[in-house]
Amino acid sequence: MKIKENIAGIAEIAAAVILTVGSFTFFRACDSAEGRHMACHWAQNTITLIGIVLTVQALLRTVIPDKKTKAGLSLGIFLLSIAAIFVPGTVIDLCMMDTMECHTVFRPAVIVVATLSTVISGVDSVFGLVRSGKKE
């Protein structure tokens, strides 16, 4: 595995792992109260799931040597990262007040990490597609 060829892949893995682990640790949504889940709990679960899928995709993108497959996986990461941006607050409602943890920490953190992942995988997939086209 050449490091130079996989710099983008490593960055994608890092972003995906941060999204996965962060979503239930350092930027998790609001805590459950009196055994009752808040509205944002389901958005958190969805982000964790998306993060796991992104991590697997990014790992495959780094390990698999075929350039076309790498480009395809990057494209998949790009699209799923865009989807992640819209999960908290748009696709799945968050809690009632903007001052709550899910609005002040969880949502902004997901937006920042998912946007970074989108930009990295977007550039990676464009370069990957151009490069794989040139070889033929």
Binding site: T99, R107, P108, V112
Partner: protein, 400 residues
């Protein structure tokens, strides 16, 4: 190879060096842009709070003033309630210099429908109101009916939706504009609805009033002073003649916040200048070291016909590309972070925070961009001058 592509090729062929220089430029842009946007957001929040209060004096029960309850409601949005006798408003109207009065009723929800979070409920008199209706955002111009509410901008409840408060279904008919203060998380309704909710709370065993009837109490009175009358005199008059209440001048309440804001603004400016100077020094040093390392490269370029001017231009072009990429990345990343975490800044600092409008943001971005684009080439100007003066023969001989 097209000679115009030389600066780009040089940068691409040295990825680590280029990325490090781009990162320094990004830091510089982030410091200027982030600092100005954050400071501007806090200034906007303070202005908004000043306008939002709308009154010259607020009269609250004495114990509420001592506990800073009103300040907490206004700035942090901490739900609280306190009551005083309704007759206070008539007494206030009789005070010399008082032009208008408007009473408000405070109540705290047990918990809202979606989650276990308390919400501040504020009852205001629609006829005499001076602080709520001017901030009405969505097209509502009628009068609030039975169990109809207006919601603050930070509540996710949409117009037309209902909220259950103490078991009473309340319909949202309007939404207020964002103020960047604790008032964004409150629910506004008529005094009648608040009284109905107080009764509903009593039925549920959550008694907010021990002995009095909801019809005999109010929480605060907003006062507008007659033109030409000294506001401090009126406040002092109220404090002297009315027992059990405290008149707070709205400006004095803002002074504490303004002082905190001044300290934070000063820290932001200091930090911004420190990061800026540090980044500029590191960039100059890095470019100087690199210039020394690249002496042979430039000597070769001189021997193949590069003029001194062209050589200087090549270095400046490389620096310009680095600064352009760095400034672009720094501004974008900072914008993404500062705007996303605006609410967190507000809740953590306890200060009103209102993000600047798009026009101001563009101006701040342009300033940061121009600052980086000026500093980078200036930092490399000396290196460019030194390299363009190299003694080609001596350097090439040194390498033999």
């Amino acid at each position: 190879m097209n000679i115009k592509q030389l600066p780009f090729k040089n940068l691409i062929n040295r990825p680590v060096r280029s990325v490090l220089l781009v990162l320094i430029a990004a830091f510089m842009a982030a410091a200027v842009f982030g600092g100005t946007v954050a400071a501007s957001g806090m200034r906007n929040g303070l202005d908004s709070l000043q306008k939002r209060l709308g009154a010259d004096i607020i009269v609250v029960p004495e114990d509420a003033a001592e506990k800073n309850d009103l300040e907490n409601i206004l700035l942090q949005g901490t739900p609280a309630y306190f009551y005083m006798d309704k007759s206070v408003e008539d007494d206030l109207k009789a005070i010399n210099g008082v032009a208008e009065t408007s009473e408000q009723y405070f109540l705290v929800s047990a918990n809202s429908e979606c989650c276990s979070v308390q919400v501040q409920i504020i009852g205001f008199d629609e006829d005499s109101d001076i602080s709520v209706k001017p901030w009405l955002k969505e097209s509502y111009s009628g009068r609030l009916g039975e169990n109809e509410i207006i919601v603050g901008s930070s509540l996710s409840t949409r117009v037309g939706h209902t909220l259950k408060l103490y078991g009473v279904e309340c319909k949202a008919v309007g939404k207020l504009d964002e103020t960047g203060t604790g008032l964004d998380t409150a629910i506004y309704t008529t005094p009648d609805t608040v009284r109905r909710l107080i009764r509903a709370s009593q039925e549920k065993g959550i008694g907010v009033l021990s002995k009095q009837s909801p019809d005999d109490v109010i929480s605060s009175v907003y006062i507008k002073v007659k033109d030409g009358v000294d506001i401090d005199d009126v406040a002092a008059d109220i404090n002297l003649h009315l027992d059990g209440v405290r008149a707070v001048r709205t400006r004095s309440m803002i002074t504490g916040t303004a002082d905190k804001l001044a300290v934070i603004s000063k820290s932001i400016n200091g930090l911004m200048a420190a990061v800026w100077i540090l980044a500029a020094v590191i960039m100059s040093a890095a470019l100087s070291v690199l210039a020394n390392e690249r002496r042979r490269e430039f000597a070769v370029l001189r021997t193949i016909g590069f003029s001194r001017k062209r050589l200087g231009g090549l270095i400046l072009s490389e620096t310009a590309v680095i600064c352009l990429s760095g400034a672009f990345a720094g501004i974008l990343l900072t914008a993404l972070t500062v705007f996303s975490f605006g609410k967190l800044i507000e809740t953590k600092t306890g200060l009103p925070y209102l993000s600047p409008d798009i026009l101001h943001v563009l101006v701040y971005a342009l300033i940061a961009f121009a600052a980086v684009m000026l500093t980078g080439p200036l930092a490399s100007a000396y290196s460019a001058y030194r390299l363009s003066r190299v003694d080609t023969g001596r350097i090439l001989r040194e390498g033999d």
